[in-house]
């Protein structure tokens, strides 16, 4: 409960800073404000998929049922945030490039990531009653975790992109001035806390689903 209250406060502060306090970026104008939502959403989506992969590794190593609940919860949250990342990115693309979808390598890579996890959901539905289902899901999540850096970081860099240099780039520097950087970091913190809250809720749901299936069998 405390975490929800803290996140609600941080989220409100973040929204105030994004839409009222921070000045618009030069050249990009008012549309640049979407970056404070788009980047944190993309960050949480990536974080969620990494956590899902790490939880899957933990399940493979230790066979603890809680790990697979964490992995499943994290995939669901990551999928939701990926969709929001695509939507906010498309809105910004429409304003900046004139079209919602431009087949830019970076747009394509996030879509590929979505396809990977759509495929995971298909696997989950098929193997949910299989006694080895959790292990099969875990192995697929680890494969997805290993393939993801190629989708997100390597493949887009092989070809020219319309997308601006990522905020956190190859030089490891954040290319924003101090005010914008502060607002972005607060927004990232707010969305990361939201991710933790959603994870806790979904973990309980998956645990209950597992226990009810155990009772039935």
């Amino acid at each position: 409960m405390i975490l929800i209250i803290v996140d609600a406060l941080v989220m409100l502060v973040s929204l105030y800073l994004i839409f009222i306090w921070v000045p618009p970026a030069a050249i990009l104008g008012e549309t640049s404000r979407i970056v404070y939502l788009h980047v944190p959403l993309a960050w949480v989506a990536t974080l969620a998929f990494v956590v899902a992969g790490l939880a899957a590794i933990q399940y493979i190593r230790k066979n603890t049922i809680a790990s697979i609940h964490y992995a499943r919860s994290s995939v669901h949250v990551g999928f939701f945030f990926s969709i929001l990342t695509v939507i906010t990115g498309s809105l910004w693309a429409k304003v900046m490039w004139g079209s919602y979808w431009n087949w830019d390598p970076r747009e394509t890579s996030i879509t590929l990531l979505l396809l990977v996890y759509i495929a995971y959901f298909s696997l989950h539905q098929i193997v949910r009653t299989n006694p080895n289902g959790a292990m099969l899901e875990s192995v697929y999540l680890v494969i997805a975790l290993v393939a993801s850096p190629f989708l997100i970081f390597v493949a887009p860099r092989l070809y020219s992109s319309l997308h601006p240099e990522p905020v956190i780039n190859t030089q490891g520097a954040i290319l924003l001035d101090t005010e914008m950087r502060m607002v972005l970091l607060i927004s990232v913190a707010a969305f990361t806390l939201l991710y933790i809250i959603l994870m806790k809720i979904l973990f309980k749901i998956h645990k209950l689903d597992y226990l009810s299936n155990e009772d039935e069998s």
Binding site: I60, T108, L112, L115, V116, I118, A119, S122, L123, I126, V127, N130, N132, G133, M135, L136, V139, Y140, V142, I143, A144, V146, A147, F150, L151, V154, A155, L158, Y159
Partner: protein
Amino acid sequence: MIKALVCNIIKDFRIEFRSKVVISLILSFSVMVTISIGFASGGMIGSPMVHAILLWVIIFFSGMNTAHIFYREIEENTALFNLMYYSPEHIFISKLFVHCIIMMAVAVIVGLLYLFVMDVSVYNPLSFAILLLTGSIALAVCTTIIAAITAIAQARGGLFTILSFPITLPIITVAIKSTTQCFSKEIFSSFSAILFLLAFSTLLGVVSYILFPYIWREF
């Protein structure tokens, strides 16, 4: 260890050549699709990119039939028998080897047939040949563990394609872009694409090798 591995590879090849299930499926699929495209278009497709896309889509979907190398073990109940003689690592390497050889053969046959039927000119034959081989190896490496997952999940057909497609899409995308350059007159270097394909397949191959025993022993 090497002897056991070689024995297992020879056994897999013998079974495959005796049953001819995978070979006949792949050959009939690839030949039919390539000739159908040729008939439908009347050989009038002009863009190098369209040719590259069609070629790699045919190779990918032809390769989807190779999952049978794992389904066979499950259907014929030979998986447990195999585990008595070979470690899961041996089984994985032999399946991977067989899969790579079949995929390379598929890529060469489909590649040559496509060039012949569609009358496509290749301006950089060496790069094209290396791309066909590295691309097919990358596809085989990435889909071997997926084939094992779908075989154990006892979900044939659709699931294998659904799980494989997003994981192999970077391979297909990079291969298509570089093959397009091979079909056009522009001067280019396919080095970064080949390096990408090799790096991707090596990493996924190593991870699959580590993970395979967990699913095969569980089964």
